[in-house]
């Protein structure tokens, strides 16, 4: 059964509200940070690797592609 008569009583927590809510808020922030850091780190690595590979493909393309094809879109003066 819900222990509080009203929403304001729930927030006040019999005078202990600030301590309780601050504890839960701080914990939530730390837990979110723990999940976010490895995900962001992995994303950063994967997009860097992808960029690097695209560059490499383009580089090798320059030397292999000797036919006068439509490869002039790269840079406009």
């Amino acid at each position: 059964m819900f222990q509080f008569d009203s929403l304001s009583a729930f927030i006040a927590m019999g005078g202990h509200g600030p301590y309780i809510w601050l504890s839960y808020l701080a914990t939530a922030l730390v837990l979110l940070w723990l999940v976010a850091t490895p995900l962001l780190r992995t994303n950063r690595l994967m997009s860097a690797l992808k960029r690097q590979q695209t560059l490499q493909h383009r580089e090798s393309g320059k030397y292999q592609d000797i036919s006068p094809g439509p490869r002039t879109e790269e840079r406009s003066p």
Binding site: G15, I20, S23, T27, L31, L34, T42, K50
Partner: protein
């Protein structure tokens, strides 16, 4: 002649290789994430709104639902880190070093949570945010041990030397763990004795105890989730020049 059977099952060898470990754990991640989220959510709502208030402490005791699970996992996580360090030292297993590195920031964060929530609980209950008593001081030492392991990883440019040094520090620091457990029995302290003991019935009313169990289970799942996330990220970083990682980067996320 009898056919020779492999000494260890195939999945064990897959676990030992970073690539095998990465691929094997991929399918676990969504399950762990959902289980952890549901348990933590249910436990929080139950503990904050539906558990009866404590006769002596009033509502401030509701902090127990994060304080105790966080402290629990901060200690259990130290064993994980030290055991991974020992395995890495003895068998030169790369994956074990990665697990050890993954466990350090996670353990530090959980120790910090238990210190901060303990302090916020102490103010309305003991009248002070901080006392230099045995339990709290030994938890602070645990926090610095975790920070030390993290710092050693940054102190060396050579990855192998870093792993060795932090594994040794982690193993030496294990001496602190029984001190933390026993501190409430050995010394006079403000901190209350353990709520849950394996050998006895809990000293809590079931209405208060069940949400605590849910939260502990939730923190366990969360711990496993983040340990895997960190380890998998570390695997990709260390193997970033190998074909399988490059293929994965090109093929999109996985």
């Amino acid at each position: 002649m009898a056919r020779t059977r492999p000494l260890l099952p195939e999945w064990f060898h897959r676990l030992g290789s970073p690539k095998g470990f990465y691929q094997m754990t991929s399918s676990w991640m969504p399950w762990l994430a959902v289980t952890a989220a549901v348990l933590l959510l249910v436990g929080t709502v139950w503990g904050l709104g539906f558990a009866p208030q404590d006769a002596k402490q009033g509502n401030s005791f509701r902090i127990i639902y994060i304080h105790v699970p966080a402290a629990f996992l901060a200690l259990a996580g130290y064993y994980v880190m030290a055991a991974a360090g020992a395995i890495g030292l003895v068998w030169k297993m790369k994956l074990a070093h990665m697990v050890m590195k993954a466990a350090a920031p996670l353990g530090a964060a959980l120790t910090l949570i238990s210190l901060v929530t303990g302090s916020l609980w102490g103010k309305p209950t003991w009248g002070t945010y901080w006392v230099w008593d045995a339990r709290i001081t030994s938890m602070l030492v645990l926090f610095f041990l975790y920070l030390g392991v993290i710092a050693l990883h940054y102190a060396y440019t050579n990855g192998e030397a870093a792993s060795k040094a932090s594994a040794v520090l982690a193993l030496v620091g294990t001496a602190n763990i029984p001190i933390i457990y026993k501190s409430v029995d050995w010394w006079y302290t403000l901190h209350q004795p353990a709520t849950i003991k394996l050998t006895q019935a809990p000293s809590m009313h079931p209405d208060m105890f069940y949400p605590l169990l849910v939260m502990i289970a939730g923190f366990y799942c969360f711990y496993a989730l983040v340990l895997l996330l960190n380890t998998r990220s570390e695997i990709l970083h260390r193997e970033r020049r190998t074909r399988w990682v490059l293929d994965m980067a090109e093929g999109g996320r996985s």
